[in-house]
């Protein structure tokens, strides 16, 4: 097919866009399979292709192997978490900030626990996944620092570090999953557990 000089860039862009969209659909298919069947670390290429509505060949045209798909899905999930969970009510009072941070974090954990478990299982054999796990943790800590800056600013460097580590531990993906799965708490009840705990862990809010 011959293309005129003027129309060539638009066709290439269209192909690229369609290819990127297919990639995204494949990634979303993988993530939805994980959420449905969290006990299976890696769905097969055939299962992913069927869910996405494409051929297995299409999957491997975009991802050389399933571990590359897993890595791309991780990057996608991290970007999605950042987009869906911007910091809110940063200037609010203590209870507003705690509630806001908890509800945001709870949503992230509710969506992401299946993938998080896969990552932790696979991180020993994949250095690139390890860096993504560390990035996820780093962002969690940064968010805690932003939301609780007034309270944390009253602490010594050591106490501040200990408090952040404890906050990260109690608001971990697995902590959320245990409340929902093992203790059978509703979303709201699990949020209430976190709100209460964070309120206890934080030092008093300095007066304005």
């Amino acid at each position: 097919m011959s293309l005129t000089e003027g129309s060539k860039p638009a066709r290439i862009d269209g192909r690229r866009l369609r290819s990127e969209r297919t990639k995204q659909l494949i990634i979303e298919a993988y993530l939805s399979l994980l959420r449905e069947r969290p006990v299976v670390p890696m769905p097969t290429a055939a299962e992913i292709a069927e869910r996405a509505g494409y051929s297995v060949r299409s999957v491997f045209e975009r991802f050389p192997d399933l571990s590359k798909l897993r890595l791309a899905a991780t990057d996608y999930a991290l970007a999605q978490a950042a987009a869906l969970a911007p910091p809110r009510h940063v200037e609010g009072d203590r209870s507003t900030r705690i509630r806001s941070q908890v509800e945001t974090r709870a949503g992230t954990c509710e969506r992401g626990v299946a993938l998080w478990r896969v990552l932790l299982f696979s991180v020993a054999e994949d250095e690139q996944l390890r860096s993504r796990v560390e990035l996820g943790r780093k962002r969690t800590i940064e968010r805690l620092e932003v939301m609780y800056r007034p309270e944390l600013s009253t602490l010594s460097e050591k106490e501040r570090a200990y408090t952040l580590i404890a906050l990260e531990a109690i608001t971990d993906h697995e902590s959320w999953a245990r409340m929902r799965e093992q203790h059978r708490l509703s979303f709201e009840a699990a949020c209430a557990v976190w709100i209460d705990a964070i309120d206890r862990l934080l030092p008093p809010t300095p007066s304005a």
Binding site: V39, V40, L120, F121, A124, E125, E134, R137, E159, A161, Y162, T163, I165, A166, E168, A169, I170, D172, E174, S175, R178, M179, Q182, H183, A192, V193, W194, D196, A197, R200, L201
Partner: protein, 219 residues
């Protein structure tokens, strides 16, 4: 070739014929010793390879027997996993109960030290268990039981404080204390945050002290 059913008959005849046929007793004893070596071999390898699980061939080599011996005693790796977890749990020495008169500080210190030692010791096997429990109801039940054991311990150590609050609040505090002192939480402090043992214990100590309700005054 001795079939599995023949081997299954052996324990009964050995038990029924105590002091009777020495050969049957000897075979039974050797079989039990091999079973134990297989379980111990699995546990060693699971800890070394965590979170990956060893193959039957690897387990057999470590145990000094054949893969056939492994499958004669365990229908599959999953049943060996279950038996190994039960064996490991049976080896756990219960932590001493809180001493009468121990104050809040002493109890927190004792519980943190005990829990941190336990986490450090069991981390590789715990990771292997968590990563490989899959949809196994037996393994999930054991994980749930172990977690409940941690909560029971927390409940016992902090009874003075927890007894002052309503049941719903008590439950919330225990859930969070268990999350805070989870084995992976310990691992993160040591591996990701790079804390020393003392710093990690201090982190838990500070957090537990803040999470617990006030200690009631002594009568």
């Amino acid at each position: 070739m001795v079939r599995q059913t023949d081997r299954q008959a052996e324990p009964q005849s050995a038990a029924a014929g105590a002091g009777g046929d020495g050969k049957i007793d000897g075979r039974h004893l050797r079989s039990q010793r091999t079973r134990l070596r297989i379980i111990e071999g699995y546990l060693e390898l699971a800890a070394e390879m965590s979170p990956l699980i060893p193959t039957a061939a690897q387990i057999a080599e470590r145990a000094g027997c054949s893969a056939r011996s492994v499958f004669e005693r365990f229908p599959d790796i999953h049943s060996l996993q279950v038996a190994a977890v039960d064996h490991a749990v049976a080896l756990i020495v219960p932590s001493p109960p809180p001493r009468e008169g121990d104050g809040r500080e002493a109890r927190i210190r004792a519980q943190v030290e005990s829990r941190s030692r336990s986490c450090q010791t069991w981390l590789p096997l715990w990771r292997s268990l968590i990563a490989n429990q899959g949809d196994s109801t037996e393994l999930r039940a054991r994980v749930a039981c172990l977690r409940q054991g941690v909560m029971d311990r927390l409940s016992a150590m902090y009874e003075p404080e927890l007894s002052t609050v309503p049941e719903a609040e008590r439950r919330r505090v225990l859930i969070i204390l268990e999350a805070l002192t989870d084995t992976e939480s310990w691992a993160r402090m040591r591996e990701y945050f790079g804390l020393s043992t003392e710093e990690a214990r201090a982190t838990w100590h500070q957090a537990i002290d803040r999470l617990l309700p006030p200690t009631p005054a002594a009568p």
